[in-house]
């Protein structure tokens, strides 16, 4: 499966993909270990913040407020960025964004670009578009470099190579960087990446980045990172192209005081990540001489239009929900068939596909609520999951298709039974008779026939009680007790 991009349009359902992943014990071990480490770190640095809940509430409300006034803030950002010498482009969808970026790279007369890790460029599969246009993209984030050299796919929003352990990374580097003697200590691997990329940082004239925040008030852009590869890409090239979803806007510079506390502690469990860069347009004495921002919709406005789904756009891409999710921790990210995996992926991906693909993802959850609890901007992911499940059911049962939908038919029959006491009693009696050949000696049912078998595939069912509550209640009444 390596080499092919994660594309929700062609991905298998989560249930099928998850089954394959569950068979990969090495991957499960790697994911478990990494998410255990990150969760412990997060818990420690969040625990030392007595005002964490107040920060979360402020974070949520800032994001909510931004979405309510998004047209105003987008225009304010555009005006201020333009005034500072930046060029703002608008892209309705991924195709348009790719076309704009490829055109800008060509105009910069470069056939290479250095790239900062950006989930937005992953979302629009920018690298294949660049390659098709004869432009070589160099991923410079360590994890993205591992993914690119290993012809792999990202499995985590913050740490895309989280599913690989040090031995696997060493093998990739030995092979792809031609370093047969490379050690396997993480420090050796980081040093190898430094050596491999330094020459590219100093040479390549065009950089491509995503953005963590676009500051409407100043027209500035903020990128949060660890390694310094981001700073290299933002600072050294002559041309910088930043692509950002329209949801990345923040009203004022001051709002960073909330986000820069919430994001690092939630994402990597650090009080602050090593580097945050903030720049505004073009500065003759510092950094690129040409700066472009591509503001991309790509279905974000359709999410905005859905009152219940809208909170999905509040996401600041910290991945705390992935680390906390008992489903993600078992399957890893690839099972989600999208660059956005885990709980946030389960709600974001189908909505970015306008519910035409990835309909299995809202079911990739036990609704335990761990994601909601750790979310720094309080996105109620379980609520949105249920909302999307509802949409999927409505889709499946709409029109003629609904007449042939077995689940919908069963639900209708259930509704009919529950509406009548007589029918309900009859169904209970019938159930007790029908189940009797299936009940084992210990009172459990381990196998159900036909389509009902889906239930017993992964769990047992207890037999129905010999006496229902109603029966017991009526008997009690007769005895006068």
């Amino acid at each position: 499966m390596s080499g092919t991009a994660l594309d929700p349009k062609t991905a298998p359902t989560f249930q099928i993909a998850a089954k394959t992943m569950l068979g990969d014990t090495q991957l499960r071990k790697n994911v478990r270990h990494a998410t255990d480490v990150i969760q412990a770190k997060r818990a420690r640095v969040v625990g030392e913040m007595p005002d964490w809940q107040e920060l979360r509430e402020a974070g949520k409300q800032i994001r909510q407020h931004t979405m309510e006034h998004l047209d105003y803030y987008l225009q304010e950002f555009e005006a201020n960025c333009t005034r500072a010498g930046g060029v703002v482009h608008w892209a309705k969808d991924a195709e348009e964004a790719r076309r704009i970026i490829v055109g800008l790279v060509k105009a910069s007369r470069s056939d290479e670009v250095i790239k900062i890790k950006s989930m937005t460029t992953e979302e629009i599969q920018l690298n294949s578009a660049l390659e098709a246009a004869g432009i070589h993209p160099f991923e410079t984030d360590l994890a993205e470099l591992i993914i690119q050299l290993g012809q792999d796919r990202p499995s985590h929003i913050v740490v895309p190579a989280l599913h690989k352990n040090r031995q696997q990374i060493r093998e990739i580097f030995q092979r792809e960087m031609n370093l047969p003697e490379l050690g396997e200590k993480p420090q050796d691997l980081a040093d190898a990446a430094r050596m491999f990329l330094r020459e590219k940082f100093l040479r390549v004239k065009t950089g491509v980045s995503g953005a963590n925040f676009l500051i409407a008030e100043t027209g500035g852009v903020c990128v949060v990172e660890s390694e310094g590869n981001g700073r290299m890409c933002l600072t050294l090239p002559e041309t910088l192209i930043t692509v950002a979803g329209i949801d990345k806007v923040l009203p004022r510079f001051e709002d960073l005081e909330v986000m820069l506390q919430l994001l690092p502690r939630s994402a990597t469990g650090e009080r602050m990540n090593p580097y945050n860069s903030i720049w505004t347009g073009v500065d003759a004495s510092d950094g690129p001489k040409a700066f472009h921002v591509v503001l991309m919709d790509n279905a974000r406005t359709s999410i905005l239009a859905d009152a219940e789904g809208r909170q999905t756009l509040n996401c600041i891409r910290c991945a705390a929900c992935q680390n906390a999710c008992p489903v993600y921790r078992q399957t890893g990210g690839h099972a989600y068939g999208s660059v956005y995996a885990g709980p946030i992926g389960a709600i974001l991906t189908p909505q970015l596909q306008e519910m035409h693909h990835s309909q299995s993802l809202p079911y990739a959850s036990s609704l335990c609520g761990a994601c909601y609890e750790v979310c720094p901007v309080k996105i109620n992911i379980p609520e949105v999951l249920i909302h999307l499940r509802n949409k999927v059911v409505l889709q499946n049962t709409a029109g003629v298709a609904g007449l042939f939908d077995v689940e919908a038919g069963a639900m209708k029959a259930m509704a009919m039974i529950f509406r009548s006491e007589r029918r309900f009693r009859a169904a209970q009696r019938l159930g007790r008779v029908a189940e009797s050949p299936l009940v084992k000696k210990d009172g459990w049912i381990g196998w159900l026939p036909g389509m009902l078998g889906g239930w017993t595939q992964v769990r047992d069912l207890q037999e129905m009680p010999k006496e229902t509550f109603r029966d017991w209640w009526e008997k009690r009444g007769k005895n006068g007790r």
Partner: protein
């Protein structure tokens, strides 16, 4: 095509259709003002404890921190450079001359190429503000701190921070930075690092692998 909306108009139209109309500066301002901000904005610690907190947090990232008096800065800088074995340093224009000791080479950055910057042992700069709670120093494109590449390409960064510029919380720092928000600004919290291999923080990838901070009373 004539009559067809530009992507910009189309996206703004979609946004307005989704949010129920055009938003105005007044409405945005009122809504923004209503966001509750009950988190800690002002520091509560005594001065000395704030400085100790900064030292502790920086050391936690594996940065070295020393304190010095105003008249002893040059001597402290010499001490750090000798200990690190650094000789040829780049400095931004406008860095206080009296902070730089004899016996080392200091080259002022006047548009050095990235390749040239790569040839230095390190860089010495000041800082606009430091945040104790997060162990952060903030550098901006101004005299004494320089353009971003200068504190990025060399492998060693020696940062001089006046204690008057140390604040306790992130909101206090943002408050001080607001007036110069348009300048290229970098928050530096420890040496370059990554957690991309098994989520373990490894020091030193592409940015300076070594960070020393001198706190000037």
């Amino acid at each position: 095509m004539a009559g067809e909306m530009s992507s910009r108009e189309e996206i703004l139209r979609r946004v307005r259709a989704a949010t129920g109309g055009v938003s105005t500066a007044e409405a945005a301002q009122a809504g923004w003002g209503a966001v509750p901000r009950r988190y800690k904005r002002e520091g509560v610690l005594e001065r000395e404890l704030v400085l100790e907190l900064l030292e502790d947090r920086l050391r936690d990232y594996d940065a070295t921190v020393v304190r010095t008096e105003r008249e002893d800065v040059a001597r402290s800088v010499a001490g750090r450079l000798s200990e690190r074995g650094k000789k040829r340093m780049v400095v931004p224009a406008g860095l206080m001359g009296e902070w730089l000791p004899q016996g080392f080479e200091f080259v002022v950055d006047e548009g050095l190429s990235s390749m040239e910057l790569n040839g230095f042992d390190g860089v010495v700069t000041g800082a606009t503000v430091a945040i104790a709670e997060t162990g952060t120093v903030v550098v901006q494109n101004i005299a004494g701190q320089g353009r971003r590449a200068v504190t990025l390409v060399p492998d060693y960064h020696l940062c001089l921070v006046r204690v008057a510029d140390v604040v306790e919380t992130v909101p206090e720092a943002m408050d001080r930075l607001r007036a110069t928000a348009g300048l290229a600004t970098t928050f530096v919290s420890g040496p370059s690092a990554t957690a991309d291999i098994e989520m373990t923080r490894i020091k030193g990838v592409h940015g300076p692998r070594y960070l020393d901070v001198i706190l000037i009373s």
